[in-house]
């Protein structure tokens, strides 16, 4: 074996520890899961939409050549062309009884529809007389992640397809006195014809994308900042514990006339203060960065006018949620740090914490709490760092219960981890490590 090979073998043995290999494997699994999550959301958002159709128009459109065109037939053609079995079109195109805005909103709610179109009462006569017929869109706003807003675009595409279909029928049967603009776009939609329903109130001229985009631009940085703070504070505390053990300052500290709870509290409070300072610094920096990034994409929708703004009490809840999550992180770190043998092993110990911070960030950003399934919601809720990530959106939607439940959960979690830390500080494990622990010896068979 050459000297170089000898050195390389030694380095590889040091670098490829079970902890580092496990962390890489977990990252692979995490990113694979993330890919699946994003793929699922995109697929869900771009799926063929289910749309309610309220037709207030009297009869079909009579074209110049005497033939007729109906909204329902055109929709059927579109869905059939999109691959929907003709026998199942009723599952996608839901005929509604109502012909007015209030009735439509109520019927959408009872039928569980998130999108519907209302064909104007004068639609057929307008078209027949050479005037653009109007179709109004209704969307029930649903909180989603980054990809969730594409669904309303899909319905708009259906209307555009209908417009094109009618246009081609008109052109083929045209008589010379019709306006070319009308022939190219005989159906009027978009603009104030779009209504987004929030808390049972229709907001004309606002699309779900506008609302979702505006909320995203205001809340997107929160999960990122929380993740950064958790990882940073966690790394500080665990590394501090690793250094204390490596330099044997911990043994000195533990034989000084101070209570173990004082040592634990001192470390947690100091790290929490550092975390808050870092948090504020990151918040300012990220606000500027995200502001410049999101401003061009901002829809300019005033969330306040839609009842989606936060007041002082809401911001206080968000800050409290952030603080509690930092305390939870520090509790976990103190437990993990107790097992760190030295500075190097302490770095590996930060891995579980990083994962716990990244998982809810991805879930909240890409899927969103409200559109996640029960299993994913359970996982998200169980991770304490999820709560400040979700708090701002939850408060915008008026879901104070979720935020308060999160605070209670975090308080219980933090208390449990701090008690566990004090217990560890009063045990031999802090000095001897896990190798001398009776239970570990029984499990591993080592003495």
């Amino acid at each position: 074996m050459s000297h170089l090979t000898n050195i390389i073998r030694k380095e590889l043995r040091e670098l490829l520890t079970p902890g580092s290999v496990a962390s890489v494997l977990i990252m692979v699994v995490l990113f694979a899961g993330l890919g699946g999550l994003i793929g699922g959301e995109v697929e869900k958002a771009s799926a063929i939409p289910i749309v309610g159709v309220a037709n207030a128009s009297a009869g079909d459109v009579v074209l110049p050549d005497g033939t007729s065109w109906s909204v329902y037939d055109s929709l059927c053609s579109y869905y059939t062309a999109s691959g929907v079995d003709p026998d199942e079109i009723g599952d996608y195109v839901v005929t509604m009884e109502s012909t007015g805005p209030d009735g439509i909103i109520g019927e959408m709610s009872s039928l569980g529809l998130t999108s519907a179109i209302l064909v104007d009462s004068g639609f057929a006569t307008d078209i027949s007389s050479g005037t653009r017929g109007e179709i109004t869109e209704y969307y029930v706003f649903e909180p989603t992640g980054m990809f969730g807003t594409v669904s309303s675009t899909a319905v708009s595409m259906v209307i555009q397809a209908m417009s094109s279909d009618l246009s081609s029928r008109l052109i083929s049967s045209v008589s010379g006195d019709l306006d070319h603009t009308f022939l190219m776009s005989p159906i009027e939609c978009g603009g104030n014809s779009i209504n987004t329903v929030i808390d049972g109130t229709a907001h004309p001229g606002v699309t779900p994308q506008d609302v979702s985009g505006q909320i995203t631009s205001q809340t997107m940085m929160i999960p990122i900042i929380i993740m950064i703070i958790i990882m940073m504070v966690g790394s500080i505390v665990i590394s501090s514990m690793g250094s204390e053990k490596e330099n044997k300052t911990l043994e000195t500290l533990l034989t000084l006339p101070i209570k173990r709870t004082t040592v634990v509290t001192g470390k947690i409070v100091a790290a929490a203060l550092v975390g808050l300072v870092y948090g504020l610094a990151y918040m300012v920096g990220m606000s500027i960065y995200m502001g410049s990034l999101m401003d061009p994409l901002s829809s300019g929708v005033d969330l306040g006018s839609l009842g989606l703004s936060l007041d002082i009490a809401d911001y206080a809840l968000v800050m409290l949620s952030m603080f509690m999550s930092i305390i939870c992180a520090l509790g976990i770190c103190m437990v993990l740090g107790a097992f760190a043998k030295n500075y190097k092993s302490a770095q590996t110990m930060t891995m579980p914490l990083s994962l716990l911070a990244m998982i809810p960030m991805f879930i909240v950003m890409f899927s969103g709490w409200y559109s996640a399934g029960p299993a994913l919601q359970a996982v998200t809720f169980a991770i304490p760092f999820s709560h400040p990530m979700m708090a701002m959106q939850a408060l915008m939607y008026g879901d104070v219960g979720l935020v308060v439940a999160g605070l209670v959960y975090m308080a219980v979690f933090a208390t449990a981890t701090i008690l566990a830390t004090v217990r560890l500080y009063n045990s031999d494990i802090l000095i001897t490590g896990l190798g001398q622990n009776g239970l570990v010896q029984r499990i591993t068979g080592r003495k």
């Binding site: 330099n247 044997k248 300052t249």
Partner: protein, 249 residues
């Protein structure tokens, strides 16, 4: 010390059938021992014999599996906080917080023991004991091993403990540093501080300790003054006593 002699020797440290197990492995097998106030007691034994485990149990760092340890009448298991007020423990190869200066480190420790004028006096005493000159204001991570050890000795002695526990206190030090540290230990013992120290250096133990305890495989196999032990084994050095005792000769 003189006052104690007049009133009769006080038991500074008492170990009664002390045992320590890690899982199924017993590292210390029922050690019993009494150390009197002002004594310098040396624990000797080869690596892994149980010296550090014993010192850590006395220092409240490790829990006792069975038996009892009392420091000046205070039980280490039931009154650990009280015990920590009267002991100082100096681990083998101990370090200090590297971002602090020597002075800041002594101040950090002194704040756990005193305030006001008493604090200032304690820090001044620590600085004098460390005897690092201007380097007391240098960062600890710039110190040599000898300077670090002097600082830590000063840290351990500065609060005037009743019992100082020192693990391999001069290990790895040059002749001058080791000599000066031994002189410091002699000085504090003369002032009435009880010292329990472990060492592999038999010459040092012979010169410094009033009594010696020899640990082998977790058992206390010998206790006595250096001269008693040498006489019992008919040899001239503690090193020879150690070898004969371990080999069962």
């Amino acid at each position: 010390m003189a006052q104690s002699m007049q009133q009769g020797p006080v038991d500074a440290l008492v170990l009664e059938d002390v045992r320590k197990s890690y899982g199924n492995r017993e590292a210390v097998h029922g050690i019993s021992l009494t150390i009197r106030e002002g004594e310098i007691f040396g624990l000797i034994g080869h690596n892994g014999a149980g010296k550090t485990t014993t010192l850590r149990m006395i220092s409240t760092l490790l829990r006792i599996t069975s038996g009892r340890i009392s420091v000046y009448g205070h039980d280490v298991s039931t009154e650990p906080d009280r015990v920590r007020e009267i002991i100082s423990y100096l681990p083998e190869d101990a370090g200090a917080y590297k971002d602090l200066t020597g002075r800041a480190y002594l101040e950090f420790i002194a704040r756990f023991f005193a305030s006001g004028d008493e604090f200032d006096e304690m820090v001044a005493k620590g600085i004098a004991l460390a005897d690092l000159g201007d380097r007391i204001d240098s960062k600890v991570d710039t110190y040599s091993k000898g300077m670090m050890r002097r600082l830590l000795i000063a840290r351990a002695i500065m609060p005037s403990p009743k019992l100082a526990i020192m693990d391999e206190v001069t290990s790895g030090l040059d002749v001058i540093n080791a000599y000066e540290i031994r002189e410091i230990i002699r000085g504090i013992a003369a002032d009435g501080v009880t010292v329990v120290m472990s060492s592999h250096n038999m010459f040092e133990v012979d010169m410094l300790c009033d009594r010696v305890g020899m640990i082998d495989q977790g058992n206390l196999i010998l206790v006595g003054t250096p001269s008693e032990l040498k006489e019992r084994f008919g040899v001239g050095t503690l090193e020879e006593v150690f070898v004969k005792a371990v080999k069962g000769e």
